[in-house]
């Protein structure tokens, strides 16, 4: 007997739903093993990591706050990935959005500008992210450069640009030489939803984006085009859809959403520009997009789960004395399992009789 993978006649819808759950289960099992190897009680550790945050109202709000940028970025990335366009640089587009949006807050600081500042910041953030995403898109379409490499490399450019700005021209003169800009004025701050909480209007924006993406992908010709170009490029050309133009469009949309997430993040939670404004949202969102099946509603659920790993990682660091980097390990393992389990959507395991012996070879 031998185990073989056999192609299914049609993709399994049940497996498409179950496979991320299997991946999560495998991640938890691997996590338990990892904790055991670190000399921590595995069950207790997993409880602190994945379940305790769910019982604490403050932690629940924090999960929503951390999920907000993940949802915004991952929805944009899912459009790219569906179209077979590999934007790996959402982190950079996020930072540029924070910079272009944050610029307005810095420029209007102390001028008594009105309530137009925040909406204008959001627009500028989205435009900045889109413009930054246009660079790898154009390189790919015009010169055939791999967008995987160019978009990723531009992340480091954005990080260094932010670093330069907050240490140089935009540094708060009254900031005791810390590398930050001045605190944003009230008109540049994202309103909170509940008094005294950190939950902010960005969460509502993220939900609106999910709703928009659901309709766009499910009901419109543009959504059909995105899926067709990714799944069957030759059929898409036969249908009259241009893969080059779509590369540009999906990069622009995902860059805009990442930029929007960036400016929302600084105006809502950080309130000024500084070198570290993201714990790697742009990269974690890649995992969110795949765990969420590149589906907007799925991304919402997946973003909450990945946000949980951020919160759980922090509490595990405090109570278990494990390094914070363990969060990244968990996220990496999760992506690994998600991609592996996806095989089950198109294939199934079958036990086959052993192959016949080869005759005639002497």
């Amino acid at each position: 007997m031998r185990l073989a993978l056999e192609r299914r006649a049609e993709r399994s819808i049940a497996m498409a739903l179950v496979s991320p759950l299997i991946a999560v289960a495998l991640t938890l099992a691997t996590g338990a093993l990892l904790f055991a190897l670190l000399g921590k009680p595995p069950v207790e550790a997993l409880k602190i990591y994945f379940f305790e945050p769910l019982t604490d109202p403050w932690a629940l709000q924090e999960i929503a706050v951390k999920a907000t940028p993940l949802v915004l970025i991952a929805v944009g990335l899912s459009l790219c990935y569906l179209a077979n366009v590999w934007n790996i640089g959402a982190e950079g587009q996020f930072l540029i959005g924070a910079i272009t949006g944050g610029w307005l807050a810095v420029a209007t600081h102390g001028t008594g500008a009105g309530y137009w500042v925040l909406p204008a910041m959001l627009v500028l953030g989205a435009l900045g992210g889109a413009a930054y995403a246009l660079v790898p898109a154009v390189f790919r379409v015009r010169f055939g450069a791999s967008e995987i490499l160019t978009s990723l490399m531009l992340v480091y450019v954005a990080e260094l640009l932010l670093d330069y700005l907050v240490r140089g021209p935009w540094r708060d003169p009254k900031g005791f030489n810390f590398p930050t800009t001045a605190e944003f004025d009230a008109v540049a701050a994202m309103p909170t939803l509940i008094e005294g909480s950190r939950l902010h209007l960005g969460a509502i924006i993220a939900l609106l984006v999910v709703a928009w993406a659901t309709v766009m992908l499910g009901r419109t010709l543009k959504g059909f085009e995105i899926k067709l170009v990714g799944a069957a490029p030759r059929a898409a050309r036969f249908g009259g859809f241009s893969d080059k133009w779509l590369t540009v469009v999906t990069f622009l949309i995902s860059g805009a959403l990442a930029g929007l997430a960036g400016v929302i993040e600084v105006s809502a939670t950080v309130n000024h520009l500084q070198p570290n404004i993201s714990p790697g949202y742009g990269f974690t969102a890649i995992i969110v997009a795949f765990l969420g099946r590149l589906n907007p509603a799925g991304i919402l659920v997946a973003a909450l789960f990945l946000a949980l790993t951020f919160i759980g990682g922090e509490s595990a660091q405090i109570s278990l004395k494990v390094p914070l980097d363990l969060t990244k390990v968990f996220q990496g393992i999760l992506l690994f399992y998600v991609l592996a389990c996806d095989t089950l959507i198109l294939y199934r395991f079958r036990l086959l009789p052993a192959p016949k012996a080869v005759h005639g070879i002497r």
Binding site: A9, E10, R11, R219, T220, L221, K222, F224, K227, L228, A231, A232, R234, A235, A236, R237, F238, G239, G240, P355, K356, V358, H359, G360, I361
Partner: protein, 527 residues
């Protein structure tokens, strides 16, 4: 037997075979795909020191047969014998272990690696030490000049083919299979290849040579087996035949039933192509050279030709997947369309059915109701202001299903789950139900069972009778004789002058397909 004796006589230094057994023998080998018989009890003998040609049109079953010999496919019935003993070939490794090597039409090489590294990757259990020298030695001995240290991306197509041949020769094969080796070569490279093959024959190796180039087969091969419709039609000595007699065996000697209805009344020209030249990006592609023809309303024009002579390039240029250099070289309904996108051409009333059903005409993993959108989104109530009307799309699938009897497991399955014939009926029906004024269809009944093929041909005839202009590209000459009013032949990117089907002589068409008598044809086509 006689051929083998002849080969021995003409090559005295060849090692004498210990026994009088064929090297490889196929006895009643049959391959079924569902109900489709790709190979129908094939009998074949390949002798040592023989260059054996396998001739046939596309779809005749040549590839299926050699893939079984190389272990890539498993036969449904029959037996292979190797030096008289029955053998099983569960995979290419087993075939190689017996001494069977194969050079494919499309190479599998890593562009960034060197010649020697590519050779090493393709070998089973060959010591890597000294491989450079061995590659150099083999390439020198057999007249296959190659630098082992050169990266593949620097090499011409002919040099890349040499890597594949050297890779096979390092395994010391007794039987070497070559799948249309000269289709990608210049005449000079081909001549060099023939010299190598003659050396190999002298060493007592057998060569199974797949081709449709008849002159080449006559010059090189000792024996030819001709396949048609999955059956062996004849085994002969090609040197004793003419290109014409080989062509007629390939395409079928009998003259098809000529259509009895009288001269049709043709309308105005719907499609006018004047001096269309296209240079392909792909090195395997064919350059279109001065393609010129007219297609009138109500007419079916048949385009015959051996595969890979520019049909794909012509289809892409006519559909708009590849744009022409000038707008006026393609005119649809008196509008310059050469620079129009495929969507704009569809809005002019054109419809297209490509050869490849899965991946080109349809997205395999998309539902049929999505697949109708691929060609229907430009002008139909299925899409309004950018929004898709799913109910309309499903209703259109139902109409196609009803009109063309598409059999499927459920109302709206994925395209890939349909059988070839049913998917083809869906793809043709999807275009014809849109009532196009111009239909360009490639291989309309390729790999389709007889019943479905008849239904599709009838649908095409009916569409033309309603006033549409139809261009049918097909390698099935019987099909073209059955439905086309006029015939043109494409060979090496050039078009012959059109002929009335009723007066076109099959032998002559076969010769044109083989490239005999095509000179200057591109300019004569204006007749």
């Amino acid at each position: 037997m006689a051929d083998a004796a002849l080969a021995i006589a003409s090559a005295p230094d060849k090692p004498v075979q210990p026994d009088e057994l064929p090297l490889l023998e196929a006895v009643g080998v049959t391959k079924l795909y569902g109900h489709f018989v790709a190979n129908d009890s094939i009998d074949l003998e390949i002798w040592p020191a023989e260059v054996h040609a396998l001739l046939g049109e596309n779809g005749a079953g040549k590839s299926t047969l050699v893939k079984m010999i190389y272990g890539l496919l498993q036969r449904s019935a029959g037996e292979f014998r190797w030096q008289g003993e029955p053998i099983e070939l569960p995979g290419p490794a087993a075939a190689r272990a017996h001494g069977i090597g194969m050079v494919f039409q499309h190479f599998s090489l890593f562009e960034q690696l060197t010649v020697a590294e590519n050779v090493a990757l393709g070998l089973d259990n060959v010591p890597l030490a000294g491989l450079d020298e061995r590659v150099a030695e083999v390439s020198r001995n057999y007249g296959l000049p190659l630098d082992p240290k050169r990266e593949v991306w620097r090499l011409s197509v002919g040099e890349r083919q040499r890597i594949e041949i050297v890779r096979c020769l390092l395994q010391d094969p007794k039987l070497l299979i070559l799948d249309e080796p000269t289709s990608v070569l210049t005449p000079q490279e081909a001549e060099q290849l023939f010299r190598t093959l003659r050396v190999l024959r002298k060493e007592g190796r057998a060569i199974l040579y797949i081709s449709h180039k008849l002159e080449e087969v006559r010059a090189l091969c000792d024996t030819a087996t001709i396949l048609r419709g999955g059956k062996v039609i004849a085994t002969c000595d090609p040197r004793a035949e003419t290109a014409q007699s080989l062509a007629s065996m390939m395409v079928g000697g009998e003259v098809g039933a000529v259509r009895s209805d009288g001269q049709k009344k043709l309308g105005n020209p719907r499609l006018v192509v004047r001096n269309l030249n296209v240079t392909p990006d792909d090195p395997h592609g064919v350059k279109l050279d001065g393609i010129t023809f007219e297609l009138a309303a109500g007419e079916i024009l048949g385009l015959a030709g051996v595969a890979g002579n520019g049909q794909d390039e012509l289809f892409a240029a006519l559909s708009g997947e590849v744009l022409a250099d000038n707008a006026d070289v393609i005119r649809i309904d008196n509008r310059d369309a050469g620079r129009m996108s495929i969507t704009e051409r569809r809005r002019l009333g054109a419809a297209f059915v490509p050869e490849e059903r899965l991946g080109h005409a349809t997205a395999p993993r998309f539902k049929l109701s999505d697949n109708v959108l691929i060609t229907g989104h430009a002008a139909s109530p299925m899409v309004r202001r950018g929004f898709i009307n799913r109910a309309q799309a499903r209703a259109f699938v139902d109409r196609i299903t009803k009109a063309y009897d598409v059999r499927k497991a459920k109302r709206d399955p994925e395209a890939a789950s349909l059988s070839g014939g049913n998917l083809q009926k869906f793809v043709v029906g999807r275009e014809i139900l849109r009532e196009p004024r111009l239909l360009i269809v490639s291989q309309p009944t390729w790999g389709v069972d007889a019943g479905a093929a008849a239904a599709i041909r009838q649908a095409i005839i009916d569409l033309a009778a309603r006033g549409a202009a139809v261009l049918v590209m097909s390698q099935d000459l019987d099909e073209l004789y059955e439905i086309a009013d006029r015939l043109v032949v494409i060979c090496a990117g050039r078009l012959s002058a059109p002929r009335q089907t009723r007066r076109a002589d099959r032998g002559e068409i076969g010769m044109l397909m083989a490239g005999v008598g095509m000179k200057g044809a591109g300019h004569a086509a204006r007749a």
